[in-house]
């Protein structure tokens, strides 16, 4: 036995042809009349152009920053900062830290100090000396070249040079001893024909070794 389900669809407010066309015409006129009012939207990000110029949740974008100034990009300032270590524990120089770890508050502070000293008319070396006076030599990315630090710079080269000299001496002794006591010549029986030996010689002469 089959069951047939019947669905009855009822239009509560059936629309006749006249009303349908009337609605269409009204919609068309509505679009046409409002066409000029809806000017094409400009870039929604233009600053000051409304709420779109602001972030929905600025806290997600990290610590608020100040706009970059020409002094921030000055090569002289960067050169100074590349010689100074950020003390936040990142092991980076001040310039790299302040342009990399934007959560760090130490490197921007050190940067401001460099700018302040530069504005006082101090030279690069004077600025660096000022940091060393206040924070010790560990503030420098590389130890200054005096006193015990010279050992840091030159010990590897000196050790390698001494080792190279010793190696040359040892090689000279070994090769001289070898020349004085030549290894006994052992006659190796040739199990090849003279033609084959000649070919071998030719091939060997062309080989890299």
């Amino acid at each position: 036995m089959s069951v047939v389900r019947r669905y009855v669809a009822t239009l509560h407010d059936p629309m006749d042809r006249r009303r349908f066309l009337g609605s269409g015409a009204g919609a068309f006129l509505g679009v046409v009349t409002t066409w000029q009012r809806a000017a094409p939207q400009g870039p929604d990000s233009l600053p000051g152009s409304g709420p779109s110029g602001r972030l929905w949740d600025p806290s997600r974008a990290g610590r608020p920053l100040e706009p970059v100034t020409a002094a921030d990009n000055a090569e002289a300032i960067q050169a100074i900062e590349k010689r100074l270590r950020c003390t936040c524990g990142c092991n980076l120089d001040v310039y790299t830290c302040r342009t990399t770890d934007f959560t760090c508050t130490t490197s921007p502070e050190m940067h401001r100090r460099v700018l302040a000293l530069a504005n006082q008319g101090k030279t690069a070396q004077e600025i660096i000396d000022d940091f060393v006076r206040q924070d010790g030599v560990a503030i420098l990315m590389a130890p200054p070249k005096h006193g015990f630090n010279l050992a840091g710079y030159f010990a590897p080269s000196i050790v390698i040079l001494i080792a190279a000299l010793l190696l040359v001496l040892a090689l000279w002794r070994w090769t001289r001893r070898d020349a004085e006591e030549p290894a006994p010549a052992v006659a190796v029986p040739a199990d090849a024909s003279p033609e084959e030996l000649a070919r071998l010689k030719r091939e060997l002469a062309e080989l890299p070794e």
Binding site: R60, N91, F102
Partner: protein, 675 residues
Amino acid sequence: MTLLGSLALWVAFLLGIWGALTGFVGGLRNRYDLQQSARRAVFAMFGALAIAVVALEWALFHHDFNVEYVAAYTSRNLPIFYTWSALYAGQKGSLLFWATVLSLFGTLAQLFTARRHQVYLPYVAGVVSVVTVFFITVMLFAANPFTRLPYTPLDGSGLNPQLQNPGMVFHPPMLYLGYISMTIPFAFALAALMSRNLDSDWLVAIRKWTIVSWLFLSIGLLLGMWWAYVELGWGGYWAWDPVENAALLPWLTMTAFLHSVMIQEKRGMLKKWNLALVIGSWLLSIMGTFITRSGVISSVHSFTESPVGYYFAFFLVASAIISFTLYTRRLPLLTAEARLESMVSREASFLFNNLLFVGIAFSVLWGTLFPILSEAVQGTKVTVGPPFFNQVNIPLGLALLALTGIGPLIAWRRASIANLQRQFAVPVTVGVFTGLALLVGGMRDFYPLMAMALGGFVLGTVVQEFARGTRARHRQYNESYALALARLVGRNRRRYGGYVVHVGIVILFVAFAGMAFKTETEATLKPGESATLKSPYGWTYTFTHLGISQYDQLNRQVTAATIEIRRDGKRLGLLTTEKRQHVDALGRPTFQPSTEVGIRSDWREDLYVVLGGVVNGSEQAVFRFTINPLVWWVWYGGMILTLGGLLVMWPGGGSPAVKRTQAGYAVKLVGEGSP
């Protein structure tokens, strides 16, 4: 499961002690039953540690936040990929990973070592057991990954955002595999010393292991560089950080060993030196771990600092004393079987190559430890950063690059003047031509110029070696050039694989030199505004800020800035750089916002854009724009280096004597009788 994990650790600990005792006693007293017991103890130890790993992964995947390690390194919304890698994201888990892989390598060494080397295996089982027991001891008494908390947090702290990068999933295990696999050559070296079987046989047993270890270390270092470049955002890939240096040290000494081992194999010389290099490399790997774990030296890897470093310090000192005592007592047995015949020979060039490798390792170690030394001597702590390392190591690196080209050109035993002239003519011409071309092109920086000229010289050497070998085969066997080249490489993979590695090294050096021409600028841009930057190639890049959007993604809230890039006015496309605020499953921030760099890479240069932050809560943003020349070549040079390493270690190819003959040349090895 954590109870099972703890139990498995204790079982592995006891098995390790048994394996060490039976291994050494069985080897020294030649007791077969004890030797077999040691072998089975290593297998069982691996089984127990594998159970511990499964138990920890189970806790990680089931978010068992009552386990301290799980709560510290994961959260409910951490992507599954990183939940798995959290196994080695922290100190305790990485110790477990280390011990497990070491016992696996120990098992593989027992299973796959050829029968003729069986005399070493009990000692190898003993050494592997001792080292594994050390790691298990650290876990059981100082850093147990199964420690439970007195309460259960609703969610974990999550994984450090900088570790949520594919590079970080593969970089630590690769580096660990390099470090860990180094224990096997070390174990064979100690086995040779203990068993007094000090001919060149033990070298054959460890050859593959050494290359495997070197390859893993190389890949680990390269992946670490890649991770630092794409994730840390400072625009470089190598910062001479103490932990980077710690990984580089054993790589340098292993590379020295891979060269000097050829002299022992071919001439029976340098036995003392090779043993010292194997032992030294392993000790350096433990020292690297000590530096990483202890925090004794300030490092960017400070997330792994803990008191377990002192366990490593003790283990390092004890291992060094035992190894070198054994070594010095066996020195009389380590006499050379042949003499050096000339100062102008391949052997002598390899000795200088070793001198430079070990010299660079010494200078890196010296620089890394100098702050401690300075504090001890002059009471002042100093910082030893990139300026120091670059000043000391760049000249040494260039000398090494020169030797990379010189070594293969000099004949074994003795080179004649005529031979030298014939060998050096083409490579020197290529090197000089490269240098002159760059000089005429306007390059004036000395070190980059030298690096590229020497790179040309080494490439000339390699191409000449391939060309001559191919031509010789073509003439001798009437093979086509393509077939001759394929057979030349296939039948002498070690030699020609080594040359491929040299090509990779040249590319890396050239890429490093490229960084000397890096340019960068910072700019604050409102949407629609642009900044320009001149490339070292003379192009002008224009970066236009299009706007910022904010949205949620996986376990983070993203603030993304879109930049349009033009080169000399021609549009190249869009780049996106992000700030990411990671959150836990309850939406609470877990870490400080991190930066996601936008990178556009091609073979000439990388455009590297970093979103610093926003000004006053608006879409006005601070950017850093950097142009890094030739970075692409670091990754592709690394791939070529890896390919060369794989070629060297690829199995098969017949017996060495047959391979040498078929490769078109023959060198009589030490100990080989007349045919």
